[in-house]
């Protein structure tokens, strides 16, 4: 099996996912009571930066099967946006508002982007670039 040299998208993507899940767990462990947003914002920022960094690194990789990546990512994005929306709905239903709602929404946004990137990368890495 021929392997192109690719950035560690799966490893970094999983770390990004772990950080965002940690942020949501931290928020969920305190809600509906008052929650200090600092740790969640730090985890969210680190997760978003990792995701952006690895996607940027992938953009700079020659010979990557982008057409396949986009084809898979858009359907996965649709599915995971729906899942994120369902989770957001539960928090909205329970009157989560203000800062916690904004941070949770951003966490779910990063979640809904990270999973499609992981799925699309795993498919596209074995596809022909043409």
């Amino acid at each position: 099996m021929s392997e192109r040299r690719l950035p560690p998208v799966t490893q970094v993507g999983m770390l990004s996912l772990a950080l965002i899940v940690a942020a949501v767990i931290y928020m969920s462990a305190h809600l509906p009571q008052h929650v200090a947003l600092g740790p969640a914002i730090a985890l969210l920022s680190a997760s978003a930066l990792l995701l952006a960094g690895v996607v940027l690194a992938l953009f700079r990789t020659a010979g990557f099967a982008w057409a396949r990546f986009v084809e898979v990512a858009r359907w996965a994005l649709l599915a995971y946006a729906l899942i994120a929306a369902m989770i957001e709905f539960v928090f909205l239903r329970n009157n989560t508002s203000g800062g916690p709602l904004i941070v949770l929404t951003l966490c779910l946004l990063v979640f809904a982007l990270t999973v499609p990137v992981l799925i699309a990368f795993t498919v596209a890495r074995y596809a022909d670039p043409a």
Binding site: L17, A18, V21, A29, V115, T122, Y126
Partner: protein, 205 residues
Amino acid sequence: MASATVPSHAVAPGVSPPAIERPDFEIVPRRGLPIVAFVLVLLIVGISVNKIWPLMFLHVVGGAAWTVIDLFLGFVLGPIMGKLSIPARVEFTTRLMPKMVLIMPTVVTVTLAAGWQLSTHLGTNQTSYALHGWVVASFIVVGVMSVIALGLLEPANIAVLTELKKPQPNPAVIERLMKRFIYTAGATGLMQVATFVIMTKLATG
């Protein structure tokens, strides 16, 4: 039934590998989408009405399906799949995995969303709740399982099916991804034992 062939093992360039027939299949079975939509509508209704019985029903049924599927896949089907011949494994994979693409995300979403609403309704997600530590432990277990399932298992599942859709799938890629799928299914199956411990503790107080 066959619409394409899969080489039975990796071969040297220029040598035609013996071909294996594989069934035609959809990566995402469209016939299952209305069922998923129906379940998600049930979830929205259950959360909206905010009554204990529908929330308990959705959380328990979803959670039971999630744990049982993970355990069965990780400890029963996984080892069996590993020992099957390549043609049998290909046929089994093309029949099982497209269903998993729809079942698992739906079951997980229903369990988590209904579970959060239920815990809000019962007050078990309040920090003042006596077993709040156990509730947070369940969040952590689910979080770790989610990272494994979403980061490794689900991408491997989709990638295997995409590879099998190619006119000439690469058996080495399928082998590698199937191993990843089976090992991660085993890992999440093992973590489901922790879920059982926590949930029975929460149920009995």
